[in-house]
């Protein structure tokens, strides 16, 4: 398979965002994933989110590791630079890229094999380091490109297509992210676009490590009876904590909710997230409660989705490092190279 160009025509009345761009400007090349793959829905949600946020696509850097999920950055945001790195190592490449230019928006796309198995360490350390990024894991519990082996997020007792039962404990990346200090944690389902798009929008606007675990069934190898990551299973066990709207600073509140039904979470740039609460008394700012809630629901076989946790005052790596506001990749020779006089002083001190 080589490069597949997409036809450029579109309807003359196609919707444009504030940048004058259409959703076509947020597309990439044609997906080469299997028909019906959940990952394509995630790509589509990313394009929607960026379009609606009026983000210039070229100011986004999209990075991935290796695997089906990691192929997806080719299929969205064509005008953005992309980096399909090595297996499990997207987080370090993204961290380095972020160090070099703090002004771009960093979107990391990974899979459960990429982040929970081979790249578990890098996933953990990028989050505890506070990298300002949106980190999406397309989680299907199996290795697709190598044809259906279990990954580390496969549930205990889940059945492989060929019949093998998984006996190992699963890794829950959401709870890991919470424990490691992610300041934005959500879980969603590739089949639930109304939940996923605003979640990605809120994550992209979040200034800090934002993690989204997105259940994304593998139609080829993990969509059968006995799988706990199939479309049917996830739909049946999805416990949506809240549904949310991401509201930019200019958009007025139009829908009315009864008191107590809606929580407005204000963000630093003036925008807000409106949570239409379904879970009773759930506080999106309470990390400990989130951990407990997730454990309880897991025990009763439910998959909690929605915005699970958000720190009201997030920090990011550059604040910890004390780096200059100008991106490091734009500093001039003069700003970087000390003088011969400085060197003379060093020489003198070494005699």
């Amino acid at each position: 398979m080589t490069f597949l160009p997409k036809p450029k025509f579109h309807h003359p009345a196609i919707a444009r965002n504030e940048l004058g761009l259409t959703h076509r400007d947020y597309e990439g090349s044609i997906s080469t994933l299997c028909a019906g793959c959940g990952h394509d829905s995630i790509s589509s949600a990313i394009m929607h989110a960026c379009f609606e946020l009026n983000l210039p696509p070229h100011r986004i850097a999209k990075l991935s590791g290796i695997g089906c999920s990691s192929k997806t950055p080719t299929y969205f945001l064509g005008p953005a630079h992309g980096f399909n790195s090595v297996h499990g190592r997207m987080p370090s490449v993204l961290t380095g890229a972020n160090l070099a230019n703090r002004e771009l928006i960093y979107l990391g796309v990974s899979g459960d094999g990429d982040s929970a198995s081979i790249g578990f360490g890098q996933f953990a350390h990028s989050i505890r380091r506070g990298v300002n990024m949106t980190y999406i894991v397309a989680n299907n519990g199996v290795y697709g490109l190598t044809k259906g082996q279990f990954s580390a997020t496969a549930d205990k007792g889940a059945r492989q297509k060929k019949g093998t039962i998984n006996t190992d404990s699963p890794i829950d990346l959401v709870r890991m992210a919470l424990q490691l200090g992610a300041t934005f944690v959500g879980r969603s389902f590739s089949g639930d676009k109304t939940q996923l798009v605003p979640l990605i929008k809120a994550a992209l606007e979040h200034k800090g490590p934002a993690f989204i675990d997105c259940l994304s069934p593998c139609v080829a190898f993990n969509n059968h009876d006995g799988s706990t990551k199939s479309f049917d299973y996830v739909r049946a066990h999805n416990e949506a904590l809240n549904s949310l709207d991401f509201v930019s600073e200019r958009a007025p509140i139009t829908t009315e909710y009864a008191p107590g039904e809606m929580q407005v979470v204000r963000l630093h740039d003036g925008s807000s997230i409106r949570l239409r609460k379904i879970g009773d008394g759930y506080d999106v700012h309470d990390r400990h409660a989130a951990m407990t809630y997730l454990s309880q629901r897991e025990d009763s076989g439910e998959i909690v989705t929605g915005l699970i946790y958000m720190h009201p005052e997030p920090e990011e790596m550059h604040e910890h490092l004390g780096t200059v506001a100008t991106p490091l990749n734009r500093l001039s020779d003069q700003e970087l190279v000390p003088s011969q006089a400085a060197l003379d002083k060093i020489n003198a001190a070494l005699r």
Partner: protein
């Protein structure tokens, strides 16, 4: 007969790790330099924090030889664990200075050395009540005694102490008091001076005494590096730490005080190199510092950076291998692991400095080359260069020098409609153009990947375009020959058919070995390699000689193999001389080995050598 020598002898301090001896010993070395006499100082230390034996060797060398000589003329035997071995290692006619607080039986000494006892522990116990003070001042008292024994100007040491403790004034008087106590005690109770003396000289000139890792890190600062991602690993750790301290002094925004650099201690070497690749992809000058085990872990990323053509700078401070090997000993045994790092067909650029001065120069140059060639560049240091202080020419920086960012298309280039294909060989040198992410709204974006791609950076499995691209990488590697530092060739006074090839930290010992051999009537032309791929002149030098000795500090003659692989040299012509026991190679070892080989080896007929 005792050795009599002015400004030319080796003092070896035998100590216990963690006893505070290091700073006192270094003070001794600095004092000799202040008197104007060059020294070559080396730390021989264990992979341990406290308790194991450690040695510090100060070669006092009026002629300025910077290599290790081998042997010791005066041993300061402060470690009972190694006492017998230390005494045995003294040259016949040498001197043993020891702590005589406890009686040592005469059988422990040799008849052919001069034994000098001083009850250091007893003196300290009488002078100080605090155990730590007893330990620390013992070292200073010892330096005082040595000053008397070697007829050194004590005022120089006084001044050094005053400078060293300028920030902690209370310590100046206390240290000077200890120093003078030792000096006066020795003058009164010992026969001073001994046959080894230090006399004022001007041989040091304007040279500086600097640690190689610190110099390399300073090179990175001048080379415009802004991102360092690293993982602690002996003997590279002090390079990362030096970069940190240099940046703290030299790299701030004068108004906001914010850092014009970012340093991340990564969770492992995979992550370090990953961050370097990410940062360099995004247009920052980024590097990591590591050693052999780290190089092993970085292999996959190095292949990606090679194939996806992302600049990356790796300082490899080599240590003894294989595996964990000898973390605190030196070798040049990662040549092939770096030159051909990662799976598949790969080749990488190596810069090979000989000392701290070149570590600074190549440390800066590496960033220009990585950007220019869009590929990983290794600076091949080793523990001998990195973790020792050396006396080298002062560091210089041309104020007119511009950082070479290589072929980067700007917004204006793209906007004017210039053709951009990420892997297109536009200029015929195999080096394509790149763009930084975020440059232009609609032009110049590309997808970076380690999977097969064509000249427009599109994924492809078509054999033709894939092969064409990797063949271009070979062309690029050829272009690199023009950018790496050229070999340095020094010809013998008389025409000779014998040549020597060496590189890196062997240089200082080689200078002396060549002089020793010349004195024996063995003339050799010498070529010092400074980079890989081999620049013009390397193959020619070999062709000009019947026999060429390749001197290296590894078991497998890796450089010799690389010469054979890359230049197609007849193996019969390249005679390998190797030393890989851990301590640095010495002038004596080189001179003896080559002296024997040069007299034994039949001269290869010219026809055969060239066939």
């Amino acid at each position: 007969m005792s050795i009599q020598s002015v400004n030319d002898f080796v003092v070896r301090f035998a100590n216990i790790n963690g006893s505070g001896s290091a700073s006192a010993n270094q003070m001794f070395a600095r004092a000799v330099i202040r008197i104007g006499v060059p020294v070559a100082a080396r730390n021989i230390f264990p992979s341990n924090i406290q308790g194991l034996p450690t040695w510090y060797e100060v070669r006092v060398t009026g002629e300025g030889w910077q290599g290790a000589r081998g042997g010791a003329d005066l041993i300061v035997a402060m470690n009972p664990q190694t006492f017998d071995k230390d005494v045995a290692a003294v040259e016949p006619g040498g001197y043993v200075f020891y702590d005589s607080s406890r009686p040592v039986p005469a059988s422990k000494f040799r008849a052919d050395v001069t034994v000098i006892g001083m009850p250091l522990t007893e003196i300290c116990n009488a002078q100080y009540s605090d155990p730590r003070q007893r330990q620390l001042f013992k070292n200073i008292i010892c330096v005082g005694a040595l000053a008397a024994l070697l007829d050194m100007d004590i005022a120089v040491v006084d001044k050094l102490i005053a400078e060293q403790f300028a920030a902690k004034e209370k310590l100046i008087a206390a240290n000077q008091k200890a120093l003078h106590y030792g000096y006066d005690w020795a003058k009164k109770n010992l026969s001073c001076p001994i046959g080894l003396t230090i006399r004022k000289s001007t041989a040091v000139g304007d040279k500086i005494f600097i640690e190689g890792n610190s110099a390399a890190a300073l090179g990175a600062v001048y080379g415009g590096a802004t991102v360092l991602a690293w993982y602690p690993l002996t003997p590279s750790t002090s390079l990362a730490e030096a970069f940190t301290s240099h940046c703290k002094r030299l790299r701030h925004d004068p108004e906001s005080g914010a850092n014009r650099y970012a340093i991340v201690q990564a969770e492992d070497e995979l992550s370090s190199i990953g961050m370097v690749v990410g940062a360099a992809w995004n247009g920052a000058r980024a590097f990591t510092a590591t050693s052999g085990p780290g190089i092993s872990l970085m292999q996959e990323f190095l292949g990606l950076a090679y194939y996806a053509e992302v600049p990356a700078v790796v300082f490899n401070v080599q240590r003894g291998g294989p595996s964990t090997g000898m973390p605190t000993r030196t070798q040049q045994s990662d040549l092939m692991a770096c030159a051909y790092a990662s799976h598949g067909d790969t080749k990488h650029v190596l810069l090979i400095p000989r000392d701290a001065h070149e570590a600074f120069e190549f440390g800066a140059l590496a960033f220009d080359l990585a950007d220019r060639l869009q590929t990983p560049v290794f600076v091949m240091l080793d523990l001998d260069i990195g973790m020792n202080h050396a006396l080298v020419s002062p560091l210089k920086w041309d104020p007119n020098r511009k950082l070479d960012r290589g072929k980067v298309m700007t917004f204006e280039d793209l906007d004017s409609g210039k053709l951009f294909g990420r892997y297109l060989d536009v200029d015929g040198d195999g080096i394509p153009y790149r763009t930084y992410p975020g440059t232009h709204p609609s032009r110049g974006s590309f997808f970076t990947r380690g999977s097969s791609h064509d000249s427009m950076a599109r994924y492809t499995e078509e054999g033709g375009p894939v092969a064409e691209n990797v063949v271009r990488l070979l062309k690029k590697f050829d272009t690199a020959k023009h950018y790496v530092p050229a070999p340095v060739i020094e010809r013998a006074a008389r025409r000779t058919r014998l040549g020597i090839i060496h590189f890196g930290s062997t240089g200082p010992a080689m200078d002396e070995a060549v002089a020793l051999l010349a004195r024996k009537g063995i003339d050799l032309d010498v070529m010092r390699l400074r980079g890989f791929p081999f620049a013009a002149g390397v193959a020619e030098f070999i062709a000009e000689h019947d026999q060429v000795f390749v001197v290296e500090q590894n078991r497998d003659a890796q450089m010799r193999s690389m010469l054979m692989i890359e230049e197609g040299i007849d193996p019969a012509k390249l005679v390998s001389v190797r030393y890989f026991e851990g301590p640095p190679i010495t002038a004596r070892y080189i001179a003896e080995t080559i002296g024997k080989l040069a007299s034994q080896a039949p001269v290869v007929a010219k026809e055969k050598a060239l066939s």
